[in-house]
Amino acid sequence: MNAPLKSQPLNISRRTFIKATALIAGGLVIAFTIPQAKRFLMPGAKPEATGDESKKLPAPNAFLRVGTDNTVTVMLAHSEMGQGIWTTLPMLIAEELDADWSKIKVEHASAAPDYAHTAYGMQITGGSSTTWSEFDRYRQAGALTRAILISAAAQQLDVSVESLKTENGFVISGDQKISYGDLAEAATKIETPKAVTLKDPKDWKVIGKATKRLDGAEKINGTAIFGQDIHFDGLMTAMVVRSPVFGGSVRKFDASAAKQIKGVHKVVQIPTGVAVIADNYWAAKKGRDALKVDWDLGPNAGLDSKALLADFRKKAASPGLNAAKAGDSKVAMAKAEKFVEAEYTLPYLAHSPMEPLNCTVKIDTDTCEIWTGTQMQTTDQQAAAKILGLKPEQIKIHTQFLGGGFGRRANPAADFVSEAVHVAKAAEMPVKTVWSREDDVKGGYYRPMYLHKAKIGLDNNGMPAAWEHVAVGQSIIVGTPFEAFMIKDGIDATSVEGTADSPYLKSVPHYQVSLHTAKTGIPVLWWRSVGHSHTAFVMESLIDELAHTAKKDPLEYRRALLKDHPRHLAALNLAAEKAEWHKPLPKGVFRGIAVHESFGSFVAQVAEVSVEKGEVKVHRMVSAIDCGLAVNPDSLKAQMESSISFGLGAAMQSEITFKDGMVEQSNFHDYQVMRMAAMPKVEVFIVPSTEKMGGVGEPGLPPVAPAVTNAIFAATGKRIRTLPIGNQLV
């Protein structure tokens, strides 16, 4: 995972096994996999081929293809969902290959074991992990290909390999040059080298340079194809009516009126409800509106968020399972003179990616093709195979551009893919199952609601001496294949990330963090920044409460507590410097600060906020990140802007609530998200760093809410302990 910042010869036979080079479509193909032992395989995942070169490779089994037309096509093992890997991964290959950037083409790879995540062992895009996890593999692919092309050129020119160099898509020998395309065929006869040397970072021309997106043009002129845009002859559109309460089931249904709608072809029952299959969305929707379904609402018909929160509060009255502990917090608490005692709550949240969920399925006798935007090809493939009685390799997944993911399209339960497979199977025709926005808002897999209760005792210097912390909320891991290695002694690591491992606790001699894992019947899932989306709000608010109780400056207070955490400090100091923390602001504007580590990156933010007649206006967010090497600094900045928008919208106004078992929100009028007018000015600064690489898709989010609410406290003296902020100040 660590960025090898020194040039080092890689012994490929040891580190990486090269499976094959093969000729496809008149070009050169490189494929290799990381040895099994280096991974933690998901339980149930099929161990992949190890070293058996005769084993037939899935096609196109490769990371790049050099075409005879000089194109270099990069196959992405990960999904492009806005985060920019359509550009960042090709940068890694182009760097080592000395490719001509204008000749780079990009494709989503198929779903195959070769594309398993180098750390997670399955094909997945998430955890802000793509760039660091592919940093070696994609560079190696580029370097190997370059070595092969050089060998081919050396043979052709009858010169030594050492006498050749490469530049911008050419192998150069003195004043002669041969394009990579002209070498592509000859290169297929070259044996793949057993070792390759990666460039010394000081020679990098591409890595570290702000690079424009390769998917920009097609996303500007409307030609980019998302799952929603799939069309072929004979393809039908389906909409599913699902139980209004999670866990409900169909008692009976009457499809007679639905079938009268022009364009409706079939109405079929599937495990999740009833599907209307029609010529197009409009007919499917009208058909669905005309359906009469009698539901057995099941065990969750009484779900009510207020009652649920009251239940969480009751649980929090006593400690839960131990998640982290030092010293004896009880004894230490008894000695403290000043205390901060607070309860924090955060609601369920929907991801609401801009593109509503959809999945196209075409089933043939012994294959099934799926077109969708997914972050988790492996589990989707397994789920589809199980439903159809096929083998996973008989399921072809054509990953399309994702109109946003934020975690919703990485569902271990493969909900929207499984459902679409059931629809196509029952309908016996190719079907695109589409969700309306209402289906998406009401369809579950939310960021879980959380309640945190903390009591902190201060010593006579105003520093925390005893810390007792109880959290109550649902686990997103229970019941998934990840349970075996992400839940230890009853503690879901994602429920306590950011609390149990908080750097602040390292300087508290006596603490206890405990967890009650609640069961509610509400489907939950990782939502951009996962556990950090609630823990950072709580921890950074509490630290602010402590600083004010101790009558200390919130920045200086953090600096004191984080003195042994240089990467936190670097981000904190840079943000504070750029925001001119100690300089006065215009009248009525106040600052708040927060810093948090997540996904291996360290982010500090300063919010500038005014509150007028109870209305909160965020004017400016100054952000600093230490993510180690920034491969594409502009893409990093875009992800920080994105995280700020996403986190701020949620902090200000988003929440999913339940009444009588049902979700109360339905569309963007009542599930409110960030819009242009509320978007503050955003400034992003990158800490120059050669530390271990972290992610950038999520770490910008966790500090947003507390930076803003800490500023609100500075402005009004009111501590926001419940999100969303909504109209609490009115």
Binding site: G82, P353, G404
Partner: protein, 152 residues
């Protein structure tokens, strides 16, 4: 059978009068650049121009477009303002997932067609109906200013 003028071409289509323009474009004519985001005029992903005005095609039935000109993202490269907007989008590298961007570009083009030098407040007013879940708002704002400068 209904006749619509889409991107300067008369097109005949078999669809019910109440079908929103969005679905006629996407599902009948397979012009998929115009996106579906909410279906209730809340997100702007489906924005097209009807006689030059930005409208939400998800709530506008095709019957309301008869005799009028529908312009979609697919024709923006033939429009002077559209070209400037697209060039600015590229210069600022606005897009992320890209799903909202057809709608954003249509809304921005309609704004700049009537307001040559929009202020930030004008941009807020014209663009707040267009949601971007990826949060490209700061870049959209910057790109609109760039396009305005280029056009003047």
């Amino acid at each position: 059978m209904i006749t619509l003028n889409i991107n300067g071409k008369e097109q005949q289509l078999e669809a019910s009068d109440d079908m929103p323009i969005l679905w006629a474009l996407r599902d009948v004519l397979h012009l998929t650049g115009t996106k579906f985001g909410c279906g209730m005029a809340q997100c702007g992903a489906c924005t097209v121009h009807l006689d030059g005005q930005a409208i939400r095609s998800c709530v506008t039935p095709i019957a309301a477009a008869v005799g009028k000109k529908i312009t979609t993202i697919e024709a923006m490269q033939n429009n002077e303002v559209g070209q400037a907007v697209q060039a600015a989008w590229s210069e600022i590298d606005v897009v992320q997932c890209g799903y909202c961007q057809s709608g954003q570009i249509m809304a921005a083009t309609a704004l700049l067609a009537t307001n040559k030098q929009p202020t930030d407040a004008d941009i807020d007013a014209a663009m707040s109906g267009n949601i971007c879940r990826c949060g490209t708002y700061p870049r959209i704002r910057a790109a609109i200013h760039v396009a305005a400068t280029k056009l003047s």
